[in-house]
């Protein structure tokens, strides 16, 4: 059984982690020029775009918030469908409104958490899958022509997955009474960030 001091330390670590995530550069990852390549570039690619970070964390957050099978199902669906989106991007298939879709993903997922929306599991899965297409396509169009493009793909899938895990870790705080409020507040923050991305404020 956790002592109050241990809970407080865990909560502090969670907030520090969230603060570190949010303090990363707000420069969009969707740079016009190439220049990306290699594992480290792929790993950093989702992290250097706050829109990606927000949505990835939101997926893990919502999964943990929904609980049960959603905890693993949403973080499983997202990378797989994202890879399909990435393949479409690599193949040069045009998807309209990718940036808008990415911003909307943060808004939608953040609001789901903020308002404690608990749809059927299949609805949550479909919603996450749709947004994953946009994220994957954005990554896919920026994959480099260089030989290290394979390492780039590994890097960004792992980075995406780790962001999900951050969201899950924070979402598990719902087991505490104050944790539910904290998780819903985090969802609200993500939704506001998404609105800022959509309107160009961020």
């Amino acid at each position: 059984m956790s002592t109050p001091s241990l809970s407080h330390r865990r909560a502090t670590r969670a907030w520090v982690g969230i603060g570190l995530l949010l303090s990363c550069s707000i420069a969009s990852a969707h740079t016009e020029s190439g220049g990306a390549g290699g594992f480290s570039s792929g790993f950093l690619h989702p992290l250097t775009g706050l829109d990606h970070v927000a949505a990835m964390v939101a997926v893990g957050l919502w999964g943990a918030f929904l609980g049960s099978r959603a905890t693993w199902l949403l973080p499983v669906i997202f990378p797989m469908v994202m890879a399909v989106g990435g393949a479409l991007g690599v193949a040069g298939v045009h998807i309209p409104g990718v940036e808008t879709g990415i911003a909307l993903s943060a808004i939608a997922l953040g609001l789901m958490v903020a308002f404690s929306v608990r749809p059927p599991l299949w609805v949550a899965g479909v919603l996450v899958g749709i947004f994953a297409i946009f994220h994957g396509h954005a990554h896919g169009t920026e994959l480099p022509e260089s030989a290290n493009a394979l390492a780039f793909a590994i890097g960004f899938v792992i980075s995406t997955g780790l962001l999900h895990l951050c969201g899950i870790a924070f979402g598990l705080l719902v087991k505490y009474p104050w944790g539910k409020t904290a998780v819903r507040a985090a969802g609200g923050v993500i939704a506001i960030m998404g609105a800022c991305f959509l309107t160009g404020v961020l």
Binding site: F39, W72, P75, V76, P79, M80, G86, A91, A151
Partner: protein
């Protein structure tokens, strides 16, 4: 003994990100044929993905019983390496390796209670494909080729045994099951991306 003590740091140093994704049997300077063979599976993305997927497939079920799949894998890997030694330059299409990877990873991700025969088929297929793909290309000396192949055999077994053992040691808890499924989904995602990139290179 001294040679063995210096070999491991050299091999670890060779496992740099710059050497990742080497698909051809590029010899790393500073390592001998056996050492190059050992690190070859570590540097070949498609091999690593399949070995991890296979290891997860074999070890996730309780009770932990990877014996027969690992034995089948070893036998077929040996056969594949022998075949490749006898016929240098026989390659394995990347598509086959990645499809086997995805088949194993999908089973792990979905939690499908596959029959034992499925695991044995994946074991045999994985061993054969990886063994064949790990066989060295034509070398001046057959002894050098044999040393490289033996090193590759060791490298393959090290990876698969480690993945199997560490996964098998995970406690029978929800978080462990979730983690294994999530990692398997990453493998599927990476495989899909690798396939897409391969087709882009071809086109």
């Amino acid at each position: 003994m001294m040679a063995a003590m210096t070999a491991i740091p050299r091999m670890v140093e060779a496992l740099s990100l710059d050497n990742l994704c080497v698909e051809a049997h590029t010899m790393i300077q500073g390592l001998d044929q056996f050492e190059n063979g050992v690190i070859h599976p570590f540097l070949t993305l498609s091999h690593v993905l399949l070995l991890i997927a296979f290891g997860l497939l074999v070890s996730r079920r309780k009770p932990f019983s990877p014996g027969w799949p690992l034995l089948v894998f070893t036998l077929f890997a040996t056969a594949g390496l022998g075949w490749g030694l006898g016929s240098p330059g026989v390659g394995v299409p990347l598509l086959l390796i990645l499809l086997t990877t995805v088949a194993a990873a999908i089973s792990v991700t979905t939690g499908f209670r596959e029959p034992a025969a499925f695991r044995l088929v994946i074991a045999g297929l994985s061993g054969l494909l990886l063994g064949l793909d790990s066989a060295p290309e034509a070398m001046d000396s057959r002894w050098d080729a044999f040393k490289t192949a033996t090193g590759s055999w060791v490298g393959l077994l090290v990876i698969v045994v480690c993945v199997t053992a560490y996964t098998g040691m995970l406690p029978d808890r929800k978080w462990a099951s979730f983690g294994v499924r999530i990692i398997a989904s990453w493998i599927i995602a990476i495989s899909v991306m690798v396939l897409a990139l391969s087709f882009r290179r071809v086109s």
